[in-house]
C-alpha cells in the first residue's frame, strides 16, 4: 500500500492503546499481588498452622475484610493519600503507585484467608513430623511452602482475580487518567458511561480471556500436589 489507510491507522492506534491498557492492568495486578504475597503467604500459613485464640480472631478478621467493597478500601486510602491527608505530601494520589497500594490491600485479605483455610486442612502429622525433627523456623517454612504449594497457588490466583477485575480502587486512587492510570476495568466503566456498550463488552471479553490464560498458566504449573 502506497498511502497508509487512515481508517486502518486509526484502528491500529486504538488497539495499541487497548494493549497498553491491558499491559498496565496486568502490571498493576502482578505488582500488588506480588507485594501482598510477601506478607500474606507467611501470615496465612501462620493462621492456618494451628489452633489459638489469636489465630481464630485473625482468620475471622481477614475473611471479613475480604468482603469490603473496593470503593470503601479506595475511600479509606483516599483519606490517607489526599492532599489534606497524612500521606498527601508524597503525591501518590492519581498515580500508578496509588493504584498498586490500593490493590495491595484488596489482595491481602483474600490471599491470607484462602491460604489459612487451606493450611487448616493440612495433615497434623506433617507438622508434628517437622516438630519431631526439631526443624528451625526457616526450614519449617520452606518445607511447608513446598507442601502447600497448591494451596498457595490457589490463594494467589484468587487474589489476582480480585485485583484484575476491580474498579473501585483503580477509579478512586488512579483516577482513570489516560496514558497513566487507566486500566481495563476503568476503561470499561468509561466506555459504558460514554454509551459505547459494544466497546465495553469487547474489553470485558479481552479481560476474561487474559484472566483465563493467567489462571491456566498458574494451574498447569501447579498440577495437583500432595495436598488439598
Amino acid at each position: 500500500m502506497l498511502f497508509p489507510d487512515r481508517a486502518l491507522m486509526k484502528t491500529m492506534a486504538v488497539s495499541t492503546e487497548i494493549l497498553t491498557i491491558l499491559g498496565r492492568s496486568l502490571l498493576f495486578a502482578f505488582l500488588s499481588v506480588g507485594f501482598s504475597s510477601l506478607a500474606g503467604i507467611p501470615l496465612g500459613m501462620w493462621i492456618g498452622w494451628g489452633e489459638s485464640r489469636a489465630r481464630r480472631i485473625a482468620y475471622t478478621l481477614f475473611q471479613s475484610l475480604a468482603a469490603l467493597p473496593t470503593v470503601v478500601v479506595g475511600l479509606v486510602l483516599y483519606a490517607f493519600l489526599s492532599r489534606s491527608g497524612p500521606l498527601g505530601p508524597m503525591g501518590l494520589l492519581y498515580t500508578p503507585a496509588g493504584v498498586v497500594i490500593g490493590q495491595y490491600f484488596l489482595a491481602l485479605p483474600i490471599l491470607v484467608s484462602f491460604i489459612a483455610a487451606g493450611f487448616r486442612t493440612v495433615d497434623r502429622r506433617f507438622m508434628e513430623t517437622l516438630e519431631t525433627f526439631g526443624c528451625g523456623l526457616p526450614l519449617k517454612f520452606v518445607l511447608a511452602l513446598r507442601e502447600g504449594k497448591t494451596i498457595i497457588a490457589a490463594g494467589v490466583a484468587m487474589a489476582f482475580s480480585r485485583v484484575i477485575g476491580e474498579v473501585g480502587v483503580a477509579m478512586m486512587l488512579g483516577g482513570n487518567l489516560r496514558n497513566s492510570t487507566r486500566t481495563m476495568t476503568t476503561a470499561i466503566a468509561l466506555d459504558t458511561s460514554r454509551g459505547e456498550f459494544e466497546q465495553a463488552m469487547i474489553l470485558g471479553l479481552i479481560l476474561l480471556f487474559v484472566a483465563l490464560a493467567v489462571h491456566w498458566l498458574i494451574n498447569s504449573r501447579n498440577s495437583r500436589g500432595t495436598l488439598a
Binding site: L93, M171, L190, R194, G195, F197, M201
Partner: protein, 281 residues
C-alpha cells in the same frame, strides 16, 4: 477423566455462546427495571445532580399523574440509551451529538428549553494567569503555554464537547503530560482538580453544589458567550416501541418547554444563585 485440552475447549465455546447471547440481547438491558406506565428519562448529570429535576419532575407528576425515573449519565450515554430504546426522553447538552442523533433519524422531537453556562476553574495561585484573559480561548491558550495541569472530562459529555470546541480554536496546540484525560464525571473531576491543583472546565450547577468542598479552586473566567450551553429535550423515535411511553414523553416535553416549566427553572437556585435559564417559546 476428561483430558485438559477438551475441558478448555468446552469452556471457551460455552463462554463465546454466553457472550454472543448477551451481545445480541443488547447490553443496555442492564438498565432495564421498568414498571409499565412510568416515564424513563435519560439525562445529563448536571441536571440531575444539581437537584433541578427534583423540582421539575414532582411538579410534572402531580399535574399528569405520571411517575418518572431518571438515569443520570453523560449526554453521549443518554443518547446511546435512547438509541437502544431504553428510555422515553432525553435531556442533553451536547449540540453536536444531538445533531448527529437527529441526522441519523433517531429522534422525532428536539427542542432547546434552557441555557446554562460553564466556568473555567483553577488553582487560587493561577500559575498560568488565566484570570487575566478576556476570552476563554485566550485563557486556554495561556494554560497550554504555561503547561499548567489541566484536567479534561474525557468522557464525551456535553462539558467535554464544549472543552474540545474551545481547544479547537487554538492553532498548533500540543497536548503534553499537562493535559490529563480523566474519563470521569464532573464531581470526580472537580475533586481531582482540587487535589492536584489543576485547571478544569465545569458546569455552573455542579460547581455551586460542590464549592464548599473545593477550597483550593476558584472561578477564573465566566460570562464568555462561548461558555454558554443549551439544554435540549429530545424524544427518540424508539419511544414508540412497545413498553415505552411516547405519550408521556410528549407531555413532559411540553411541560419542560412551556410556561410552568420555565418559571420553575427560573426560580431554581443553588446557594442563592441561578444556574439555569429558560428559553422562551
Amino acid at each position: 477423566m476428561v483430558p485438559k485440552s477438551r475441558t478448555f475447549l468446552l469452556l471457551m465455546v460455552s463462554l463465546l455462546v454466553v457472550a454472543g447471547k448477551v451481545h445480541s440481547e443488547d447490553a443496555s438491558s442492564a438498565f432495564k427495571s421498568r414498571s409499565s406506565g412510568s416515564l424513563r428519562i435519560a439525562t445529563t448529570t448536571s441536571v440531575e445532580n444539581s437537584g433541578l429535576l427534583n423540582v421539575l419532575l414532582p411538579a410534572f407528576s402531580r399535574r399528569y399523574g405520571l411517575a418518572t425515573s431518571v438515569i443520570a449519565v453523560g449526554s453521549g450515554a443518554a443518547l446511546a440509551i435512547a438509541e437502544r430504546g431504553d428510555c422515553d426522553l432525553v435531556i442533553s447538552h451536547a449540540p453536536d451529538l444531538e445533531a448527529q442523533f437527529m441526522a441519523k433519524g433517531l429522534g422525532e422531537l428536539h427542542v432547546p428549553f434552557m441555557t446554562g453556562d460553564f466556568l473555567l476553574l483553577g488553582p487560587r495561585n493561577d500559575p498560568a494567569g488565566a484570570a487575566h484573559a478576556d476570552t476563554c480561548v485566550d485563557a486556554f491558550r495561556a494554560i497550554a503555554a504555561s503547561k499548567a495541569l489541566f484536567i479534561s472530562r474525557g468522557d464525551r459529555s456535553g462539558t467535554h464537547q464544549k472543552e474540545l470546541e474551545i481547544w479547537a480554536n487554538i492553532k498548533g496546540l500540543v497536548r503534553g503530560p499537562w493535559y490529563r484525560e480523566a474519563g470521569q464525571g464532573m464531581a470526580e473531576v472537580l475533586t481531582m482538580a482540587e487535589q492536584l491543583g489543576a485547571y478544569t472546565l465545569s458546569d455552573r450547577a455542579t460547581w455551586l453544589a460542590m464549592r464548599t468542598r473545593l477550597p483550593h479552586l476558584q472561578v477564573l473566567l465566566q460570562g464568555d458567550a462561548m461558555l454558554r450551553t443549551i439544554y435540549s429535550v429530545i424524544i427518540p423515535r424508539s419511544a414508540h416501541l412497545s413498553g415505552r411511553n411516547a405519550d408521556g414523553a410528549a407531555k413532559l416535553a411540553s411541560f419542560l418547554t412551556g410556561s410552568e416549566g420555565a418559571s420553575l427553572i427560573a426560580g431554581f437556585l443553588i446557594e442563592g444563585e441561578p444556574c439555569f435559564f429558560p428559553i422562551a417559546h
